[in-house]
């Protein structure tokens, strides 16, 4: 563990024990430490900045309400990010019914030789070319990321965008490291295919 990580974790625990006694000043410091990372995770999951801001606020409110149940078995940040990922997925489900959004991530199902992943049928409405032409590369990546199935998007976001370790991702998503890796690899392939389709050459 890097020295900086060790100091950060240690200080989080100092603050958490105060929060568990009702100290809001200490909680505010925890908010300042983690709000940006929370927001970036939520934003990359949901694809909408305002919704992500809402979800992160909900996440911190929920964290404070449940702070006494945090026993320190994992890093506090891991616990927080689990909350924000779950809330992001919940919000996505709500938004799906409210707005035009492609639920499908891939055009062809993944052939795992008998262990087929269940996928939705491909969309019949491609993204308008004139919009894509105007988007810069970052936007294209964002759009392709938005089109990924949740289970792939979350591991790609946590690993490739946010830089978490397999161990941390496994803790946050409550899945085995092997599952993290296989979803990551599949997610990257799907994203690559999407980018190639819309950009031609990556």
């Amino acid at each position: 563990m890097k020295e900086k990580d060790y100091i950060t974790i240690d200080e989080d625990f100092r603050l958490i024990s105060l929060c568990q006694k009702g100290d809001l000043v200490a909680f505010e410091e925890l908010v300042r430490r983690h709000d940006k990372e929370m927001l970036n995770i939520a934003y990359r999951m949901i694809g909408n900045y305002e919704e992500a801001c809402d979800v992160v606020q909900d996440g911190f409110v929920s964290a404070y309400k449940n702070i006494k149940s945090f026993k320190g078995m994992s890093k506090f940040s891991t616990w927080l990010y689990t909350i924000v990922i779950n809330l992001s997925k919940k919000r996505l489900k709500q938004l799906k019914t409210q707005r035009f959004r492609e639920p499908v991530s891939i055009d062809e199902p993944i052939n795992t030789g008998g262990d087929q992943m269940i996928v939705d049928p491909p969309s019949s409405s491609p993204l308008p070319d004139e919009i894509l032409e105007k988007e810069n590369i970052q936007e294209k990546v964002r759009l392709c990321l938005d089109r990924l199935y949740n289970e792939f998007r979350e591991v790609v976001v946590l690993r490739d965008v946010q830089g978490f370790s397999y161990e941390d991702i496994s803790s946050i998503l409550k899945i085995a490291e092997g599952t993290v890796k296989s979803r990551l690899f599949r997610g990257r392939v799907l994203l690559k295919n999407c980018l190639k389709r819309f950009m031609g050459v990556i």
């Binding site: 200080e11 100092r14 603050l15 105060l18 009702g22 100290d23 809001l24 000043v25 200490a26 909680f27 505010e28 410091e29 908010v31 300042r32 709000d35 940006k36 927001l39 970036n40 934003y43 990359r44 900045y49 992500a52 801001c53 992160v56 606020q57 911190f60 409110v61 404070y64 309400k65 993944i110 052939n111 795992t112 030789g113 262990d115 590369i137 970052q138 990546v141 964002r142 990321l145 790609v156 490739d160 965008v161 830089g163 092997g178 599952t179 890796k181 296989s182 990551l184 690899f185 599949r186 990257r188 392939v189 994203l191 690559k192 980018l195 190639k196 990556i202």
Partner: protein, 225 residues
């Protein structure tokens, strides 16, 4: 149930360095012979780079304040649980029965108030609480007051002293002629902090550390002379 990776997924794993030696050798042989595979590998690498290159978004200016305001609202609502419970009971009792009981109680109270009583029983009115002066937030194990001539310079010097001793400034408040710092500091550093504040201004300490262990909550008030 073991997942079987496609060739492309194996290339993604190859980039990550998670393939076995045997699988890695197979891939490398295939890469030598297939331009298409080399292209796919290159595209995957570029995809990962693009993902890693996504710019972080910044939090809005009002973010922390808004979060804390919602957290505080949540804690205040908890205090309303008693009212909610009473309200539930109120639903259970018919409104008319409640009104009758209330009126009867008021009548009895008024009757008793006008009935002559011995002086000893007529107790003095409960003391009318005096208006509480506006108090600042009550917080901290100890309070240190530093009287200074230049509040801005003193503010910087105090914060430097805190940081150098490994303390954390959790929050700051500014008033007209006073700045308040809410600080978390190791108990072992408190005396040293006190010594470092002395050159900055007149220092006064209040509070009791005898029961504190580990970290101390220190409220530092920097006051303009």
């Amino acid at each position: 149930m073991k997942d079987r990776l496609t060739m492309e997924e194996k290339l993604a794993a190859y980039i990550e360095g998670t393939l076995s030696e045997e699988e890695k050798s197979i891939i490398e042989e295939q890469l030598k012979e297939s331009e298409e595979m080399r292209e796919t590998l290159s595209d995957l690498r570029k995809t990962i780079q693009l993902l890693q290159g996504l710019e972080e978004v910044e939090t809005p200016n009002w973010f922390t304040e808004k979060i804390m305001s919602r957290v505080r609202e949540g804690t205040e609502q908890k205090k309303g649980i008693f009212e909610r419970l009473f309200f539930t009971l109120h639903i259970k009792l018919p409104i008319q029965v409640f009104a009758v009981i209330f009126l009867a109680a008021v009548s009895i109270f008024i009757y008793k108030s006008y009935k002559p009583e011995p002086d000893s029983i007529r107790s003095t009115q409960p003391g009318i609480p005096t208006d509480q002066p506006q108090t600042e937030e009550v917080w901290g194990d100890i309070r240190i007051i530093v009287n200074v001539k230049d509040i801005d310079n003193a503010n910087n010097a105090v914060q430097t002293a805190i940081t150098n001793l490994g303390g954390i400034v959790l929050r700051k408040q500014s008033f007209k002629s006073k700045n308040i710092l809410f600080v978390l500091l190791d108990l072992k550093q408190v005396n040293e902090l006190y010594e470092r504040l002395k050159p900055i201004g007149e220092v006064k300490e209040e509070g009791d550390l005898s029961t504190v262990k580990g970290n101390v909550k220190v409220k530092i008030e920097i006051v303009n002379k």
